[in-house]
């Protein structure tokens, strides 16, 4: 069953690189509220009490490759590879419109899955990279 991504996807993207003032921050929680609002395209990632899960992008793999969560959970991906990756809904053959971009090592982005379903995703630069979110 395919759920629906929010339009204008909720993104919290921070690039931890070089002289960036965010260099020391590995996740959203340490980002100042004002800055979080700016990078989140005007949408909130949700209250801190929401359930959360994490996926690491490392060695050209999503780790874990399969994740089971409850509806309403916010999943945060963090890129540990020194190359651009994406989390793009769908498959290379049937790509959805929503794509989270991780331009460099340290970049993070989050999305809250509201509806039950099985969400396939991949990296549009490296299509053999595949992941799956199962929302109960």
């Amino acid at each position: 069953m395919k759920g629906h991504w929010r339009s204008a996807a909720v993104l919290t993207a921070s690039v931890l690189a070089g002289s960036s003032p965010l260099h020391a921050h590995e996740d959203c929680d340490d980002i100042p509220q004002k800055q979080r609002a700016v990078v989140a395209s005007g949408e909130s990632v949700g209250p801190r009490s929401q359930p959360a899960a994490a996926v690491t992008i490392q060695l050209f793999q999503y780790q874990p490759g399969q994740l089971e969560i409850q509806a309403g959970t916010t999943v945060t991906w963090v890129n540990q590879d020194d190359i651009r990756h994406t989390v793009t809904l769908g498959t290379p053959e049937r790509q959805e419109d929503v794509s989270l971009n991780f331009p460099a090592k340290g970049a993070t982005a989050s999305y809250t899955f509201d509806r039950p379903g099985v969400y396939e995703y991949f990296c549009d630069r490296h299509p053999s990279m595949r992941g799956q979110i199962r929302v109960q």
């Binding site: 490392q58 050209f60 020194d82």
Partner: protein
């Protein structure tokens, strides 16, 4: 377009040129099953990467000459070599790394095929795109190894792979001229260059896992 290719050495004979009485795939199996000493690791990686060059040259030469059956056989052997290289990576970094590496490695072979087709059809746009794809690929490969091993800086690896790509391009360009002396000089050069990737890769792995690789 067929190009005369006298005195062409078949893929099987090229593999035999590896010498030492064993094939690169047998070495890879040995590494995977029984672990490897640092010298074995270096030798194994050199053999696998040089085999890659010989088989790639066999495939591109057959393709340019229009020898379809030979091309398919060489391409099949080349893919076997790719699987062995991935297994060697997996023997160090695990099954997940092996599964991630193989499609990445195969990707650059696809771009080499694109370049060969461009040469055969005299399609400069296709050639240029293939070269651009290969240059971009070097960044991916550099990032993969840098992610696996902190002793392998991404840019250094990317530059070494770029040299590999360019030496292989020289092989294809030489094959297209039909000049056999030039072709085999280019093959020797490309194969020799692979040591510049295999040696630092082996050294970096040994440095990363000193307890697993004892010196002999």
């Amino acid at each position: 377009m067929k190009i005369a290719c006298k005195n062409f050495i078949g893929a099987a004979v090229m593999v035999a040129l590896l010498g030492a009485g064993y094939t690169a795939s047998a070495l890879a199996a040995e590494m995977n099953h029984h672990g490897a000493m640092s010298s074995d690791l270096r030798t194994g990686l050199n053999s696998l990467f040089r085999e890659h060059v010989f088989l790639a040259a066999a495939a591109t030469g057959a393709a340019l000459a229009g020898r379809d059956a030979e091309f398919k056989a060489a391409a099949g052997a080349l893919d076997g070599n790719s699987i062995d290289i991935a297994k060697a990576i997996g023997s160090v970094y695990g099954a997940g790394a092996e599964q991630a590496f193989l499609p990445l490695w195969r990707k650059h072979i696809g771009f080499v095929v694109d370049y060969t087709v461009g040469v055969a059809t005299k399609d400069d746009a296709k050639k240029n795109k293939a070269v651009a794809d290969l240059v971009q690929y070097t960044e991916d490969f550099g990032a993969f190894l840098a992610s696996a091993n902190p002793n392998l800086p991404k840019d250094v690896v990317a530059n070494l792979v770029k040299d590999h790509v360019l030496t292989l391009k020289d092989v294809i360009d030489a094959q297209a001229t039909g000049d056999m002396n030039k072709t085999f000089m280019a093959i020797r050069s490309a194969a020799g260059h692979m040591g510049m990737i295999a040696d630092p890769l082996a050294a970096a792995i040994v440095k990363q896992f000193p307890e697993r690789f004892a010196n002999r």
